[in-house]
Symmetry: C2
Subunit: 282 residues, 2 copies
């Protein structure tokens, strides 16, 4: 048994850091795109770091995965065809496939090694990878969306790392235009949108780029996410047209378990604290 040590990640944009008490390094691989490391922690289960940045912990990833999937899927009137860009740990895919109405879900992550490491060290996140509705691609998400047939997708989920490195191309107008084109008229795009406490300018910039691509309406939903900077995170939904219509009755009657998400939590997340609402309105 190793003596636990502390591993810290410093976030320059927020001037803050998050750390974990580590038992040992379990695995590491340098893929063509990035360095992936797996640690065993004393209190958070296994951890995955990519290029030194915390991606997920066994203990708290349910917050993120549930909020990246269920609000969008319960807002779309009838999501059948879902595309996940990024999401290589397969946790978002698992949540999406809990919706019985989903006929097919494609996960397109550029880095196969993320999925291989998830299969090995986070098998619970990969338990739906064998679902006949699931397709796992290891390819460039920007190119995938660009070549997606127009009007073929109900929900696009952008489950990526931060807008630096391999994910940089997932936060600009050109990518959002591909998403807009690929979505049906009532389609919804949802993307992780960083910390509503410290990175409001980034959320505003994202929404502005989405608007340039044609998206008509936005909803930013905050949620706790201890392993990301400031511990408070968000996703942003964008709709091609019309108003967001939360299928509240369906969310209440859902046939699957969730640990953080519920119809009431969804409604609560739609209410932005005044300082966030003011910043996004300004």
């Amino acid at each position: 048994m190793s003596t636990p040590t502390w591993h810290y990640e410093n976030f320059d944009p927020t001037g803050s850091a998050i750390g974990y008490r580590i038992v040992r390094k379990l695995d590491e691989v340098q893929s063509p795109f990035q360095r992936i490391e797996i640690f065993e922690s004393t209190d958070w289960g296994n951890l995955m770091l990519i290029d030194g940045a915390m991606m997920l912990t066994a203990r708290d990833n349910f917050l993120y995965h549930e909020m990246m999937s269920h609000p969008a899927l319960f807002t779309h009137p009838d999501p059948k065809r879902v595309v996940i860009i990024g999401g290589g740990d397969c946790g978002t895919l698992r949540e999406v496939l809990k919706h019985e109405g989903v006929a097919s879900a494609t996960q397109c992550d550029i880095d196969e090694q993320v999925t291989r490491m998830a299969e090995k060290w986070f098998p619970e996140l990969c338990e739906s990878n064998g679902d006949p509705r699931a397709e796992l691609l290891f390819d460039d998400g920007v190119a995938y969306m660009k070549h997606c047939p127009a009007g073929s997708v109900d929900v696009v989920i952008v489950d990526s790392t931060d807008p630096v490195g391999p994910a940089e191309g997932l936060f600009n107008r050109a990518f959002y235009e591909s998403c807009f084109r690929a979505l049906k008229d009532d389609g919804i795009l949802v993307q992780q949108s960083e910390s509503p406490l410290m990175l409001l300018d980034l959320i505003k910039a994202m929404r502005a780029e989405m608007a340039k691509a044609g998206f008509a309406e936005f909803q930013t939903l905050p949620f706790p996410q201890p392993c990301y900077p400031t511990g408070w995170w968000s996703c942003t939904l964008a709709r091609k047209a019309g108003g967001f219509a939360f299928r509240e009755a369906d969310a209440r009657a859902k046939a699957f378990e969730t640990r953080y998400y519920s119809a009431d939590v969804h409604k609560g997340a739609q209410v932005l604290p005044p300082f966030v609402a003011d910043a996004l309105a300004g």
Copy 2:
């Protein structure tokens, strides 16, 4: 100009750490009770640490102070007499005094040096200290509540450090019995109740001790608080009798500004995510 360095705080009970990029140490004092340090940070303004534990940052303390005061005060039918145990930085006192109906608010912190340091380095939190309704005492909060006239208080706010060290006596049945006795029949006790992600056992234990002291009903409200372990925190309200009745119309019509709190945020916080609700029910 010093070169910034990183200061980390390791939380043993959660196996996680939070850190800040520090410009310099501004001040420090060893009081009879604890060591108080003030740092200047690059992104969070001034920081106050007590015995090495982060107490507050200039940037995010509004989350905590608003949630420690407004939900309780807008749940009590007509709060006139408020007692704050701890709260030496005066931020909770400032929020309480925003309620025009409050006739008197006593803050009783054992350590005068906390308030002196707040006056010097967080003057914005102390801007209501000269309010004629405010009384600042530097005394033992346990003794203060024990000797409070029975049935004389509308709301008791326990704004303390964690249940170790000077604040240990603020988390047990004897203290809660004093609070119960001091409160009027429709009185409310509210206490900071740690992380709903990692420290649910502590919240359950607190509620159990409060129940032994006679409190009839509880409400735990989660909120983001980046500078505390896991970045997700909570307060717990306890009521002597009857049901909690949120004065929603009054909260909507409030005559003062808040940055996080709103009537809708209050309602949203009343909805516990399933995993928290299940744990507290169990």
